[in-house]
Symmetry: D2
Subunit: 259 residues, 4 copies
């Protein structure tokens, strides 16, 4: 109802504001008997962390996930996996001057109108920090879906677009540059462009593509809950995402989100 | 779970195959006390009907909706609205020759793999005929949301795209041409193009845009169930839709689906 | 949300008022490939029908179920099973004299308060006639659960209670008397008592017991959705039911509802 | 799906095993703007705590609830309320001798059969300790429902039953004796009986009654989600509860659970 749950069989419910005590969630429905690598979850969280390079936001977030339940001796038990990421920068600074100023293109005004009040110390619940909880659940889901392959990369920044099909890219080089584009030349051009935009105090949008391989025939449910409809909803619910496209090919699915 | 329900407060559950006895659904959660114009629902169904002009599929569907419950003396009672549309062309013809042939770009093969069998007399549950039930629910929802405005139109066919912003269009002329494009000149070009494509035995995709006016601030739920995420899921779950984009402007929301 | 859906994997959504066009529902999640005996469903509906003997309400209801979807060549297809039971006694008689009189111990007043209006021609949505839709879904569920046994019987009427454990009863004689008590002597006493109560223009409550055999270990879900909690909810939601008890034994489950 | 969520508008999802790091949950849908007394929540938790008197289990549980989100400056914000109760007695003792012994009348065997493994250090997820998370959510719900009154008390222990109607009881004395029976004489007899049973190394069941006052007309949803059906499900899902009864009276609702 209140928008903080995603999924049916494997279901994530999240909580937490950017300047509260902690963010976190509950994963209900993770199958029992899955040997789980909790350090891999932390590594995926580290990949999400802002401030890793000079071309992204310099905001610091140290995201250390603690697991509270659902895993026993390295194996999932079929019971819900509760987890929390404590916020480390809840400084007791004075926010009263921003209490009534709404940041443009943020949800501040909408929250005030909808709920009559908000945690004005930052983005609160509408902060993109919320996606850290999604990373935890997604990372565990990825371990369960070990037979499939997931390769996401940046395919466009502003007008600079990859002009190659994913089959012609070396997806394993995606992580070797800060913009995470698998084509080194295009990556360089994207980085230069972002730096120029930053210098002018501006930001720029782009496109992320994800290639999912070995998708079983019949995955998803018919009519309203088609796989691509569910994926589209998930992607469109991420802050700043403005579009979603999907293409089905014999050797993989390709999904794209623009922001 | 099984994919045939959409929505939470106003919730639609649908049933029906293209060649079964009837299609239909249940709308649960429609508020009580709504004066309802059931003939307007039928008119919206008539707009959906295939075979209305020479540029669309010539398949005939006569969709007459019957309401079974939830409306008393022209007013909704708060109880579920059950409805059915009987299929009139369930001919007893011999389908055995197509029993094992899968039509390309259809869900036939996927249904067989997922369920072990299917109603092979046509698209069955995967037929676009299923959207007739959505039209019934959408038409009633539109009557409830009478304070908002909804204007959908075709903004692109193949490479022929409207080059005007929606504010510069006369949206009231949308219904005056068979392609439903509010710009008469562009509409003519689209129609010519479709006719040429049809002559070659082919089909062509396009883009539908929808302008929603007077959207209340705070509509939708935060995080996973944002308004545009729910709309995106709804649109992406319609047969043949490949993409969804949204734009927020001070005087309306603009949503687009490409197919 | 609005109370007209039960279940998660096998999910029933119902609609219909006692004096509307039809009642019915949608069963979503019935597994594909189930050979289904639709006449057995009709027989179960016939067992529910009021007016079958002199000791029950003499109200006539002719419940003929029509299936609209989800079954092809006698087998379920995995798609939703839509069904309707048309109401045959929607007489156009004048109800205006009861428009504002609330029948005691009925939900008339509550519906008016909650929704601001109601279908005053009868119980409307709150009529026990609604259970006919449950019988349809339950009958299909029973066919799917053919490995389990279900034996329900009347174990108490007023103060006349069966003093035997279910293991000591011949459950197959339950259907041989109108009160459906598997002990002929107790059945006779119950029938005499009901006749006496009827003569005084009164009604009397009782207890129904149900023995479910061969329940698989681990059926149901832990914590909030335990099997007996879900069964209790289902039973308590039936009109006039006031209590629910469960007992687990090595050779079966015993569930009881009092009304 | 997986049983760890209760409710729709005000929805609780819980996690945690008796010997894991923490138990806790997420409350989604608590209305914004509720002035909340978090110390009152802790007091309700303290009331639940085992080991408070000589007539109950001597197991020690120190339940200190931490709130992670959803409350800002003493007021709910409409965002999910995350909370955790850390387990303090996760001793590193050797449990290997009980790894394969199933305690009678516990869910150990069922969990092993259902999931293929379990956290064998104690009841794990099936421990009654799980109800602490329900107390947190219930205590907050009670603050929201401040216009209603809730009075629960023990009305029967073994064969010793209160023979007074709730209108004839002083419900405010319930908390003055360890067995929580509002009639001092009956309370004394219950306590003596429990002590005698304890001496023999046995336990005894009983009945809890709850009187809810000022229930608004129309609370709950019709058909499957009737108020008493939802309450029945909630009560029946608590460990060891075997039955539920409800009675409606002009001056309050009375609900009973037997265990």
């Amino acid at each position: 109802m209140a928008g903080n749950t995603f999924g049916t069989i494997f279901r994530l419910t999240t909580f937490g504001e950017s300047h509260g005590v902690a963010i976190g969630g509950v994963i209900d429905g993770c199958p029992a008997g899955l040997k789980i690598d909790l350090e891999a979850v932390q590594r995926d969280l580290d990949r999400r962390k802002p401030g890793q390079s000079s071309i992204v936001t310099q905001r610091k977030e140290s995201d250390l996930v603690e697991f509270y339940s659902g895993v026993f001796e390295g194996t999932t038990t079929g019971t819900p996996i509760g987890f929390a990421i404590h916020n480390t920068n809840q400084k007791s600074k004075d926010y009263s001057h921003i209490k009534d100023s709404y940041r443009p293109s943020h949800a501040d005004y909408v929250y005030d109108q909808k709920y009559g009040l908000r945690d004005y110390r930052g983005g609160g619940r509408s902060s993109a920090r919320e996606t850290a909880s999604r990373v935890v659940a997604g990372s565990i889901a990825k371990q369960f879906l070990s037979g499939l392959s997931f390769n996401a990369y940046v395919s466009q920044v502003g007008d600079i677009a990859l002009d190659k099909n994913y089959q012609d890219l070396k997806l394993e080089v995606t992580e070797t540059n800060p913009v995470r584009c698998p084509d080194p030349d295009t990556a360089d051009r994207m980085i230069e462009f972002i730096k120029a935009v930053r210098k002018e105090g501006d930001t720029v949008g782009g496109v992320i593509s994800c290639v999912i391989g070995n998708v079983p025939v019949g995955l998803g449910e018919p009519v309203f809950d088609k796989l691509h409809a569910q994926l589209g909803k998930a992607m469109l619910s991420v802050n700043a995402v403005k579009g979603f496209e999907w293409h089905k090919q014999w050797d993989g699915h390709l999904f794209q989100g623009s922001f």
